[in-house]
Amino acid sequence: MERVVLQDPQAIEMLYDRYSRLVYSLVLRILREPATAEELVQEVFLHLWRNARAYQPERGALEPWLVTMARNRALDALRSKAAKQRRVEQDSEEFMLDQLNLRIQAGSPAASAEELIDQNSRALLVRQHMQSLPAAQRRAIEMAYFQGMTQSEIAEALHEPLGTVKTWIRAALTRLREGLAEVGHAM
């Protein structure tokens, strides 16, 4: 990060290699539109480049900072009327998109092996914990994280009492926190 502050393009390139997969996957999952997702990934890394001095390492690691920025921007885009309309149309084409993603993945270069192992172990851990949750609880977390829905909106969509949804979300996050702490990914 210090090298980014010093305007070293190679440094931002390294950060891109390390985090672009995670950031792109997240915004693509939220927006379901490869073209918009690509624009947003560029925005996020350009913002990082232009505002590197604003990043404070003592306030937390870079990855959550980047991910939070990307998620906020993607949810803002999703909330716009046009994006919502597109989403309704595209939800029904989810299977086709997944197939397209597989093709894109197959044809794209990967990050270095060490970086992928580190990210993959973390990804595996998060997925394992989420997989261990009952389907409805997992769905509630996904609706909150990827669609930016509030507890009331989730309760309405799932036809569950609000109190139940609150408990689910709290329990799922507590379980994830404890699971990550157990293997040294302290939060």
């Binding site: 393009p9 996957s25 350009l46 480049w49 939070t68 794209s108 994280y145 609000l162 979300i169």
Partner: protein, 277 residues
């Protein structure tokens, strides 16, 4: 609300699902730079960020990196709005060459000119009609966007006013409770800035009725502070401007009134909360 009561809400707050008084409380603590809540929310934000790994992992297209790097090289950090690069090629200019007219025999020349005029007229008329249709559609879209923008601005103003009241050191937090109704309702009272009432899971009044908020002075009749109905999800965010008539408020109360509200309470209060000292 003390920090230890808010700990369980840090994660839903970071996830963005938290609503109602707890959200306002955490927002107020963060605005006051409360060290415990700031740290708690930052840790919760890190945890929530790990949910990004739930997305199917997909590498971005290879071309994206070169697009980004070319923008980065052209956009130095110190200059957010990058000036055009001195080495960049100048904008392409369209040069219309005036060709020397071809000499033709006079009768043919007039026939060609007439035919060209007819074709040109047809093309321009078609384009004009198409532009008119597009303009109409754009006007409608613009009007809709203006409407949405006004709604968002009004909502933003309400939230800003609510946050200003909640964050002020002179604000008192009041809990309005009821024996028969759930849940409790939170209010933030500030003599100079006004009042915020926030609730979630609030049951709706009958379709021809409304809830009315009253400030009950130590002496004299209750003063109306506004009427409201919870939204479809049972949420309420009511912001009242300061009222110069209220100088000795003792309590807040909410009654069920006819749809247009009443000049004085006509039913027994459902929720009541003392202002305290």
């Amino acid at each position: 609300m003390p920090c230890n009561h808010l700990r369980e809400f840090y994660e839903p707050y970071a996830l963005g699902t938290l609503e109602g008084p707890e959200r306002l409380e955490i927002g107020a603590h963060l605005a006051r730079a409360c060290a415990e809540c700031t740290l708690g929310v930052e840790q919760a934000r890190d945890l929530v960020a790990s949910l990004a790994y739930l997305a199917p992992q997909t590498a971005p297209p290879a071309a994206l990196k070169s697009k980004l790097m070319s923008k980065i090289i052209a956009a130095p950090m110190a200059v957010p709005q990058a000036a055009p690069s001195p080495v960049a090629p100048p904008a392409r200019q369209t040069v219309v060459e005036m060709k020397k007219p071809v000499q033709a025999a006079a009768p043919f020349r007039w026939a060609w000119a007439a035919a060209a005029a007819v074709v040109l007229f047809a093309v321009l008329t078609g384009q004009y009609l198409q532009l008119q249709r597009q303009t109409g559609a754009l006007r409608e879209e613009l009007a809709e966007l203006h409407r949405q923008q006004n709604e968002l601005l009004a909502e933003t103003r309400t939230y800003r006013q609510a946050m200003a009241i909640a964050e002020s050191g002179a604000t008192r937090a009041i809990t309005l409770t009821s024996t028969g109704q759930t849940p409790f309702i939170r209010a933030f009272w500030n003599e100079s800035l006004g009042m915020v009432v926030s609730a979630s899971q609030m049951p709706p009044p009958a379709s021809d009725r409304t809830f009315q908020l009253w400030v009950v002075p130590k002496t004299g009749a209750p003063i109306s502070a506004g009427i409201f109905r919870p939204d479809a999800a049972g949420r309420v965010l009511l912001v009242s401007s300061p009222n110069a008539r209220i100088t000795d408020a003792a309590a807040l109360a909410i009654t069920d009134e006819p749809a247009a509200g009443s000049p004085a309470p006509t039913t027994t209060p459902i929720w009541v909360g003392p202002l305290g000292s």
